[in-house]
């Protein structure tokens, strides 16, 4: 950040804040929707982790690809997916990104290169690698970014995907969004060795580790990697430790950790950290408040639209299965 002009860093910080607050507000509203029974399905929230998608995706273009996880709202929003369609998807409506067929775990928006959340841990890795290989074949200069959790580093696709991207020198940015837990288990209890970065390096992928709650740090590290990737130097890997402030799902009360622990980590809330930084840089409170209010209003509108949107009909269940050999 040293070289950046004060005005620029404020502009950038405000853009980050807008993205992060939109993600947070989307999820707060999704939680409300779930609690009220308007959202029928299980939702995984990424509250506390917003700096990672915001910092990473600020380096991506619209034609770049992203593959995501079961906890993918932030990745979608940061990549530019339409929150109205996303909220409608959570409501299971025809106006949803997936016409109500996917729900939170399968939100996708191909129009902005979002190739899908994913219900399988590690399931997005191959998709991102494949999209990168396709881009090369089609002589496009798009790159792929692939988000996954700390739990995914213990699944086979982590090894296979990183090795593959390195062997074929593909333009892929792998991001391990390490939120300290994999479901109800502390990631450190199930991951041996020197951690994700060391694993990536050993497999031949250039890797950086960065404070995942500091959006500027995430941005800078991702930028460094993305520059290398766009320059044709092959894949990069970013390890971003952060903390999942909510439960694993909306109904997980997280008895496996103490309230003190959670409170401690609230002190590192990336939104609050960014705001105090902006504050220190002279941005005044009303400007910050405006961002919150705007985001909240956007989400209220999205909820309203989702509420009013038409539900699918039974016949819709038979559409989109396949072109040849579909039922009915």
């Amino acid at each position: 950040m040293g070289e950046m002009k004060a005005a620029d860093r404020v502009t950038l910080g405000l853009a980050f804040l807008r993205t992060m607050v939109r993600i947070r507000e989307f999820e707060m509203h999704a939680r409300i929707g779930y609690d009220r029974g308007e959202i029928p399905g299980v939702v995984h929230l990424s509250i506390g982790q917003e700096a990672v998608p915001a910092g990473v995706c600020a380096n991506l273009r619209r034609d770049d690809y992203v593959a995501s996880t079961h906890r993918g709202h932030g990745h979608c929003i940061a990549k530019g997916a339409d929150v109205t369609a996303m909220m409608a998807e959570l409501f299971g409506k025809t106006t949803g990104t997936c016409k109500g067929k996917g729900g939170s775990m399968h939100i996708a928006d191909f129009s902005v290169g979002m190739l899908g959340a994913n219900g399988v841990v590690g399931g997005g890795i191959g998709i991102a690698v494949g999209a990168a290989q396709a881009a090369r074949l089609l002589h496009k200069d798009a790159i792929s970014a692939c988000f996954f959790g700390d739990g995914a580093v213990n699944r086979g696709p982590f090894l296979e995907g990183l090795n593959w991207a390195a062997v074929f020198n593909l333009p892929v940015l792998f991001i391990c969004e390490d939120n300290t837990f994999s479901a109800f288990t502390r990631a450190s209890d199930t991951t041996a060795g020197k951690g994700p970065t060391a694993r990536a390096e050993a497999i031949g992928v250039r890797a950086l580790s960065v404070d995942g709650n500091n959006v500027f740090a995430v941005y800078e590290a991702a930028r460094e990697l993305v520059e290398g990737i766009r320059a044709g130097h092959g894949p990069g890997f970013l390890h971003a430790p952060t903390y999942r402030l909510d439960g694993h799902t909306v109904f997980d009360k997280a008895p496996y950790r103490s309230n003190e622990e959670v409170e401690y980590h609230r002190g590192d809330d990336p939104v609050a950290l960014l705001e105090s930084r902006l504050h220190a840089w002279g941005v005044d409170g009303t400007q910050l408040d405006a961002i919150h209010i705007e985001a909240r209003e956007e989400m209220v509108r999205a909820m309203e639209a989702a509420r009013k949107a038409p539900s699918p009909s039974e016949a819709d269940a038979f559409a989109d299965v396949q072109l040849i050999g579909a039922p009915r």
Binding site: G41, G102, M105, F184
Partner: protein
Amino acid sequence: MTGNVETARAEATTTCTIAEAAREALAEEMRRDPTVWALGEDLAAGGIFGAYKGLAQEFGSERIVSTPISESMIMNVGFGAALAGTRPVVEMRILDFALCAWDELINQIAKARYMFGGQGNVPVVIRMPQGIGRGHQAAQHSQSLEAWLVHTPGLVVLAPATAADEKGMLKSAIRCDDPVAMLEPKALFPTTGEVPAGEHLTPIGVARIAREGSDVTLVTWSTLLPTALVAAEKAHEAGISVEVIDLRSLWPWDREAVMRSVAKTKRAVVAHEAVAVGGFGAEIAASISEELGLRVTRVGAPRIPVAYAPILENTYRVSAERILAAIERSA
């Protein structure tokens, strides 16, 4: 062998959920046999359906093993540990994730006894709760794939639908020297039922007559049982007496019990939650047709993935109305 012999033995019963019955079964077997242990994700936290609640406290982390998210290892470690003299209970969380370990289940576990010329047994239980759950989790969390497992030589395939059978079949599975695919009825985990007090084992390969009847035989299993019973009741109101067979053991399946009932009723319906095309219902229907020359009416899901929105999910689901219509249509 005939249906529900084992329930006759029971004198007292207790009421509990299917998840509790599962926990009891595992706890009892672990107390009885120190070589029984369980491995899977989040087991120390009690598992996602509460079926392991408190077990880590009682048995310690060496026997209730909370693993990394490494399905292919969970499965194959269970296999290796079975070869090496223990009786592992492999927890796959839900069936859908077991596809990440499908090579290990199908290519290693199911075939080992044969490939190795019967040198050893493979006493491993693979728990794969299946079907549409309660959380509207869409296509990757809702499959029913018993047909695949029945088609796989080497596997025993169980699909309990009641608390009593959850307990009795899990215990039988743990004592079984063959690999057992235990397809637990995910959506029914919180439902309660009577479980015989004391030692309760459900025999493998024996169907249960869930409701006696004389006009139509309805063969079903797993999550569809309660729906089938509702349909049978409605049929009864419409003047059709339906015999409901809870097949519960899918391999081996109780051919004798099914044929006996169908020979009596002369009309057969088979209903399951899974996709109808290529479902296990086709095997039952083909068998009945072969053996008794009768036309069987099959009910199952359309050949579509499970969607998220409840109305779409319901379109996939086999309802009591659809079963009833099949009962009426059967001839």
